[in-house]
């Protein structure tokens, strides 16, 4: 793992057309300013701390850039219509843990590239596993049937602000 960048997954919404989208901001604080982009007026909806990174081959030095990767998600088993759910259940019985890679809205060219990159990412995690018989499979996020209805859990830092100090006693 190389070029590790800490930042935020920012969710924003256009109050003109009601579209929602997410992006990764490698900044110390999440950008909350409203801004205009063409016909869209993007408004900050929320954010959570996350990380982006690239992968570098330890032998040849080749770098696989994963800047499109917004985060990894595990399936919550919402519906049998979802390919991610079906795949996750089949794999879990064989001790293969499926993580869906969430990316920016992919076009066909990006989908083809991502498939190769995610194979490398799966291999990266699998090469490090010590538990016998266990495997990790990173699959494209577009296997999710309906992103808006998905209850999958994205690996991000939630609850950071709920950790309160214990009350002081004197």
């Amino acid at each position: 793992m190389t070029d590790v960048r800490y930042g935020f997954i920012v969710v924003e919404k256009c109050y003109h057309c009601n579209d929602e989208r997410s992006y990764f901001a490698a900044e110390h604080v999440p950008p909350k300013e409203e801004y205009r982009e063409g016909e869209h007026f993007w408004d900050y909806m929320g954010s959570s701390q996350s990380v982006q990174f690239n992968l570098k081959c330890g032998e040849c030095g080749a770098v696989v850039e994963l800047g499109e990767l917004l985060g990894l998600m595990t399936c919550a088993g919402c519906t049998d219509e979802c390919d991610l759910n079906v795949l996750s259940r089949i794999c879990e019985s064989q001790r293969i843990w499926v993580y869906a890679a969430l990316t920016y809205n992919p076009d066909e060219q990006m989908k083809a590239h991502m498939a190769e990159k995610l194979a490398v990412l799966s291999q990266y995690f699998n090469d490090r596993i010590r538990t016998e018989g266990k495997k990790i499979l990173v699959v494209p996020g577009w296997l999710v049937h309906d992103v808006d209805m998905c209850h999958g859990s994205v690996l991000r830092d939630v609850g950071m602000f709920e950790v309160e100090p214990e009350p002081q006693t004197t």
Binding site: W97, S153, R156, D157
Partner: protein, 108 residues
């Protein structure tokens, strides 16, 4: 050191089954992004966080066990997910600083 031995040495309480594994180190963080980027496999992860993402991140990097400090409660949902992933969740009333001292003294 094996996980079961470490659990006994440090008087840790298990909240699910103990999936005994080799422990080769420790990683301390309350951020799943930190764990994804920096934790080594076969480490115990010391944290105060108890949400489901902890299990997903620990499973991804093959953490040996999660140790929740300050006796924070862990939801049944998190424990169920941990058991499916054969990930032991341990807890202690100690704060993180004190536990890490004991881990170090125990040779981790």
């Amino acid at each position: 050191m094996r996980l079961a031995e470490l659990k006994d040495k440090l008087s840790l309480k298990s909240l699910n089954d103990v999936y005994d594994k080799d422990v080769e180190g420790a990683f301390v963080s309350d951020m799943v992004s930190d764990v994804m980027a920096g934790a080594k496999p076969a480490s115990v992860w010391v944290t105060t966080q108890t949400h489901k993402n902890v299990v997903a991140a620990a499973n991804l990097v093959d953490i040996a066990a999660v140790i929740v400090t300050r006796g924070r409660p862990v939801s049944d949902e998190t424990l169920e997910m941990a058991s499916r992933a054969e990930l032991t969740i341990l807890t202690t009333d100690l704060d993180t600083y004190s536990l890490v001292g004991k881990l170090h003294a125990a040779g981790v």
